[in-house]
Amino acid sequence: MDFTYTETQDMIRDTLARFLGDTYDFETRQKFTSSDTGRDPAIWTALAQELGMLGAPFAEEHGGLGGGALENAIVMEELGKVIGIEPYLPTVVIAGGALKAVGGTQADAMIPEIIAGNAIIGFAYAEPQGRYDLANLRTTAKKDGAGYVLNGHKSVVYAAPWATHLLVTARTGGNPRDRDGVSLFLIDANLPGIVRRDYPTVDGSRASEIYFENVAIPGDALLGGEGTGLPLIEQIVDEATVAVCAEATGVMQKLHEGTLEYTQQRKQFGVPIAKFQVLQHRMVDMFMEVEQARSMTIMGTLKLGLPANERMAAVSAAKAKVARGANFVGQNAIQTHGGIGITQELAIGHYFKRATMIEGQFGSHDYHMDRYERITLND
């Protein structure tokens, strides 16, 4: 048992923090997130080519840094600290995680593209009727010769407007909520029949509704087995869930620090409002939520390798706790700032918006408590 980071992990954190400190100040972020494309592609390229950061969780034989989930958590936490909109989560954590899991020629072909910064991959899994149920799919992939034909509607696919590829869940058989019959595909984002409606998200990123209209895809787009993809999808979504817990930790830390700083400057009744004990205790409660979010992220990350049930219980415990904490820290950061907190002017409100979206991402507090109970208290 050891809860220290290796030198390499410390180096990844320090390198990334320095880079983001130089390139990702709040004003710059506001500028490129409100531009036409909503991003600065040079940052992604620099993350890949100058820092090698997109290789953090990949094996050295693919050109990566030889890390795994802990390295992903480190990167996500640092991105959280600057409310970064870089598509590291869908590209590296999720699609990269799926490719690592299936291995073989598909991994050999795509992982180097991810590491080089050439690929951006959107994760098209959610559907309008499906809520957080990964098997609740109406999107279908019908066998057609050597390939498949895709039809369906995917909701709120983050980073899709920038994507070179899409990672898509679809039914190759069974009924809309069956565990069997679910498959996972990695496809080119610009195939004929893919219709996108792009929009900004409330947390500063970009996403799309995606409609598949008789999209012909090749047979080798299938990742893993046909109709048996759900366990793999659950695994990569669990990896993504702890990764957003890590991001939340960074976001929450900044919400807390920003609040501390503000209360020491802001004067009312002739004193900095940080002198008031009611605010001091509130900020201590926020601090405790940040520390516990950090603890739960580590717990969830370290348990990703356990058998599915134990992994899911751990990830759900982590996400449930982090969701509550993000809610508490976010709302109290705004309350403590007062009126200025509800404007677009200060960074604090933008951190609050990201914290709020993380609360629901890959399952709300209630969803994860339900899943936790089904596994651990099912009698």
Binding site: M1, D2, F3, T4, Y5, T6, Q9, L70, L260, T263, Q264, A274, K275, Q277, Q280, H281, M283, V284, D285, F287, M288, E291, Q292, R294, S295, M296, I298, M299, L302, K303, A314, A317, A320, K321, M369, Y372, E373, T376, L377, D379
Partner: protein, 397 residues
């Protein structure tokens, strides 16, 4: 970073398990199972077994009688003793005054007191709080006035846990009335059999005689029993409180407590299903488990993380706050689970008593324990004081 147990750790776990199975006193186990109050001899019987084995003070430096265990081994130890429902060891010597003596004491004090703490020969109590000095501990008014080689001590202490059993007490006393509050306090070791000491019981909500008032009238204490310099006792006091706070998290015991609540809720019926199938009750259990996992990993980070060798710092206040809140929720949930049978007041079996107790065994101490555990957010520095400590020492406010 990993949470694996090495082969050595697993062997250690087996060794601990086997040792407890073979050596834990059966009569003590019976008394615990029936929910009876524990006597001084009950507490000491397990203490003495561990002392003989050399496992009584895992947290102490090896040179003073510690075990030299790694943080992982200490984690295993606390897990296994909680899992086996071993009675808790009294913290006053082992976790409180012992570390103060080996950190601040003279060679003579170390040589005399530490072995007696380890063996259980001396039972210690803590003379900190006074009727007028609770959260504002430094306002204490018990005085010690120099008289030759002695001090003459006068004053009143309160909330003195199990002082009725104590051979020795460690006391905070005022040795300089003119100095700033914290700077006029000294740390004295006092023989509880000294003339002028009176111990009077205070009965708490569960009906227990656990705490006491201690009166000191012209008690003569050799100056050689002062730990550290005169008027520097506050340094010892703060050091002790930080040590006390980490132990207070009680993670392993709370884990075991949740197992017990679940067992009760599987037995108790709610309609035609076990109580644990009730969605509202189940959610409270699940949230407690999740919050306990957050506490556990926060504690593990501090025990086996980058700052592991630094000793307890102000972040131990976080462990105290969250640990005590969880302990209280646990006892509240237990009381809720036992339903009607929370009400009968069980006073233990009398001599030759062959009546059946009322209600299931697991219900006997549910209410008294719930009442008793309200203390956890008050003692060791109330949770409000802990928040003040974090605000000042961690957040810099």
């Amino acid at each position: 970073m990993d949470m694996e147990f090495s082969p050595e750790d697993l062997a250690f776990q087996q060794e601990v398990r086997q040792f407890i199975a073979e050596n834990y006193p059966a009569d003590l186990r019976d008394k615990q199972d029936e929910g009876e109050e524990m006597s001084k001899e009950d507490f000491l019987s397990w203490h003495k077994i561990l002392y003989k084995k050399g496992w009584i003070a895992p947290a102490w430096p090896v040179e003073y009688g510690g075990t030299g265990w790694t943080p992982t081994q200490r984690f295993i130890w606390s897990e296994e003793t909680a899992r086996a429902d071993c009675i808790r060891l009294m913290p006053f010597g082992l976790a409180m005054v012992g570390p103060v003596i080996y950190t601040f004491g003279t060679p003579e004090q170390k040589a005399h007191f530490l072995p007696r703490i380890l063996s259980g020969e001396d039972w210690w109590c803590q003379g900190y709080s006074e009727p007028g000095s609770g959260s504002d501990l430094a306002s204490l008014r018990t005085t010690a006035v120099a008289d030759g080689d002695d001090y003459i001590v006068n004053g009143q202490k309160t909330w003195t846990t199990l002082a009725q059993h104590a051979d020795w007490g460690f006391f905070l006393v005022r040795t300089d009335k003119e100095a700033k509050q914290q700077e006029g306090i000294s740390f004295l070791l006092i023989d509880m059999k000294s003339p002028g000491i009176t111990v009077r019981p205070i009965i708490t909500l569960g009906g227990e005689h656990e705490v006491n008032e201690v009166w000191l009238e012209d008690v003569r204490v050799p100056q050689s029993q002062r730990v550290y310099e005169e008027n520097k006792g506050w340094t010892c006091a703060k050091f002790l409180l930080a040590h006390e706070r980490t132990g207070i998290a009680g993670v392993a015991a709370s884990k075991r407590g949740i197992e017990k609540v679940k067992a009760i809720a599987r037995t108790e019926l709610d309609g035609d299903k076990p109580l644990l199938a009730n969605a509202f009750f189940k959610r409270k259990v699940a949230e407690l488990e999740v919050d306990l996992a957050a506490l556990e990993f926060t504690e593990l980070r501090s025990l086996a993380g980058p700052n592991a060798n630094r000793g307890p710092g102000p972040e131990s206040s976080l462990l105290k706050i969250k640990g005590s809140e969880i302990q209280q929720r646990l006892t509240e949930l237990t009381l809720e689970a036992v339903g009607h049978y929370g009400a009968p007041y069980f006073r233990g079996f009398g001599e030759g008593d062959n009546e059946h107790p009322i209600g299931p065994d697991y219900a006997h101490r549910a209410a008294p324990t719930y009442f008793n555990m309200r203390k956890t957010t008050i003692y060791g520095g109330s949770n409000e004081i802990q928040r003040n400590i974090i605000a000042k020492m961690v957040l810099g406010l």
